[in-house]
Subunit: 442 residues, 2 copies
């Protein structure tokens, strides 16, 4: 019967079995110390020379060997207690070691900080480091928070298809798939059209899934395949209703992480987010005027924010509103998708927003066009062929409410919460222009 | 301020606003009845001729128009109460109708049962039918149950990549993707290799995501893209530990559906599953002997079950054990994947199983090889090139515990729970050999 390491405290003075990986081994000659780790934690074990069989095994084992250990849980003497470790006041006195799997000699010391290429080349090994495990535990909790919150708000989850029939929006950056019988298909760059269709049936929906961008970017914030968290809701008044749900979602996520990921944030030296009750927002043009006034740089003619402006505005929001988040709204209609809703009170600009989080765009979203005729007109203006959208357009032909939503990259969100400098660190198996697991040979 | 339809009962005698779609409209000349539906339910409204403006609007509106209605919630007279409907004892007396979106005339009556092709051609409309909404509500609840259960059991969710570097297992049925710079990539047929890698770091993991099979099947149970529910767990004794988790998962899911989807099951005339505390199991050879003994058909030389045998064994399990489920174990090693674990006590056969649910294979899984040398040998026997698996093999080179897991199709599970004859009915936007949303032209 296996005891999980986190539960050992309840077994002081008793004999137990644990199973896990050898984390660190320190051979003091007579005494050999072995730190064992399992899914729940890490504990120090020690073998004394009088346990001759176990001692012989302990001389042989090395980091990453998988072992089962039988022994007794002892309190450590006061001066041996490690106050920084949750199980720092106990120790297992080993009676028997059973080797389940040996491991080859490690190519590097797993306790050292690795450069990103070495890390990526050896993910099946390097994902075992405390740093990687903390990052992907947090990522998994962000997904959990996202779902819990939206289910609680009455949203229905759906699975959006990844293979799509057309490169409909005509943008660059779409992967082509060889479908059946010489037909071409494509990989979805977003679940956008499907989630709008789903609003027609379920009113409030969300989807979690991978999306694909065939872009030759080589930056610290772009990925060729990433996980998109999307939601879409019907019967909104305007984009402010969507921003309100986003704000509540950010509060929920931050609270959820504070409840579930204190150790991970500590290990990664990360801080929980600062979120005021209402996240500040301003129009793009207001933001540009502000930048001009405060820095002297005139960006008022630009149609979008540059990365530098995003950083400046985030710093401004932090200083002025004590907020790690700020919404920028009303992008020019010529820069937004054909389905972006034009603000009647601000013609030429859409009810769209970007949410900046600690210097980077975390998500964008807004209100969508729900009127069939307007949608057709907007497609024409963008030079798109309505015939290619005939499936999607049925939703609008047969009655759609005002609606809106967002899409955001899970990996980017994790990276911002944890202040990771490279989004690849928050991506389990990043697909890059020159790498799919291993470097692509030319 | 909008009131959701399900909450109307609390507003009898009061004025409210509701918003939704026109479901059915019955024009009695003076009185016009309009059933309105929103995300939470459906309610009957009525406009009297003395409300002349509203009456004029009610003459104009048609099914699927999106409207906002102001009016008063009234109790219906006793003889007008519809006891089969949750809101059958109230009615909204309309004071004002605001049209939000008009809808084109419907191409068919949404209340009628449609043939599958008409249904698929018009999904943005047909997903609005009570039948489709019930099916995909149940599907969404199955996903929720799956996650809740596994998170509760200490599993960590991860996002498995869909673009993979090689057609590693060399099977047929892999879609090719044009990656960057003329490199080929492929669409993952399963997250198998990644979840095994993840066991090395997280011990117990699960993934929910689409997988892709370029197979020219044209059956009622195959899909080219489907949602796979996968889990994998370390430190098992053998496949029975995995089967035990599967059994608990099926109980949890069935209980969850009984708590959350009574109306949907009723509407679809479906029955909750019969699951004994322990799901019966037998070896493939025992099953074949049984079939031979009971039916006279000799299939004892076959290496797998045919669909007919699956149906026969399911019927047997129901009759004999009052169980909608039965496990069949120990498939011949030459018929299972290279990573299937050979049973030391039954050489030539693997610790693998299929779970049959109401006549169809719901999932397969089992114990995997965890020893590096054995894995290399098994690859050689299957004629696979270990070099192509070098990334994956690192996990085994550096110490892996005994482990196992399953993969199962969400859509197939939904179809079995609801006794749908075609798995496409449980697939939101099915990808078929001749269809991606619309029929592929030749």
């Amino acid at each position: 019967m296996r005891t999980y390491i986190k539960d050992l405290k309840g077994h002081v003075g008793k004999n137990i079995n644990i199973a896990g990986w050898v984390d660190v081994r320190r051979d003091h000659g007579k005494l050999i110390f072995v730190d064992i780790r399992d899914v729940t934690g890490k504990v120090q074990t020690v073998v004394h020379p009088d346990q001759s069989e176990a001692h012989a095994q302990a001389e042989k084992i090395r980091p990453e060997w998988v072992v089962e250990i039988s022994g007794k849980v002892n309190k450590r003497p006061d001066k041996m207690v490690n106050p920084d470790h949750p199980l720092g006041d106990i120790e297992i006195s080993i009676e028997k070691i059973t080797v389940i799997s040996a491991a080859a000699e490690l190519p590097f010391d797993l306790q050292e900080k690795l450069n990103i290429d070495t890390y990526l080349d050896h993910l099946p090994l390097t994902l075992r480091t405390p740093r990687a495990k903390a990052i992907f535990t947090v990522e998994s909790k962000i997904v959990q928070a996202y779902r819990e919150f939206l289910v609680g708000e009455g949203f229905t989850e759906f699975q959006s298809p990844k293979i799509v029939g057309g490169d409909a929006e005509g943008g660059a950056g779409v992967f082509r798939v060889n479908y059946i019988d010489d037909h071409d298909a494509y990989l979805a760059t977003s679940p956008q059209l499907y989630k709008q269709i789903m609003v027609g049936a379920f009113e409030k929906v969300f989807a979690i899934g991978n999306v694909f961008r065939a872009e030759k970017h080589h930056t610290t914030r772009h990925l060729l395949e990433y996980t998109s968290l999307d939601f879409e809701m019907g019967f909104i008044k305007n984009h402010l209703d969507v921003m309100n749900v986003v704000t509540k979602l950010m509060h929920y996520t931050n609270d959820f992480l504070q409840k579930n990921c204190v150790d991970e944030f500590k290990l990664l030296d990360a801080e929980f987010a600062k979120i005021p009750e209402e996240i500040p927002y301003m129009k793009l043009r207001e933001a540009q005027e502000l930048i001009k006034k405060e820095t002297g740089e005139d960006c008022t003619k630009e149609k979008d924010l540059t990365p530098e402006h995003e950083r400046w505005l985030s710093a401004y929001a932090l200083k002025k509103f004590d907020s790690d988040f700020i919404f920028i709204t009303h992008f020019p209609i010529e820069k937004t998708a054909f389905y972006a809703y034009e603000d009647e009170n601000d013609p030429g600009y859409t009810n769209y927003f970007d949410l900046l989080f600690r210097g980077v765009e975390l998500n964008s979203g807004g209100q969508r066009v729900h009127d069939y005729e307007t949608l057709m007109k907007r497609m024409e203006q963008k030079g798109l062929d309505p015939e290619k959208f005939s499936f999607y357009l049925q939703a609008f032909k047969y009655g759609m409410p005002p609606h809106g939503g967002i899409g955001m990259g899970l990996e980017r969100m994790t990276a911002r919460f944890l202040n990771l400098s490279n989004v690849k660190e928050a991506t389990l198996f990043p697909r890059e222009i020159n790498r799919i697991d291993k470097l692509l040979s030319t």
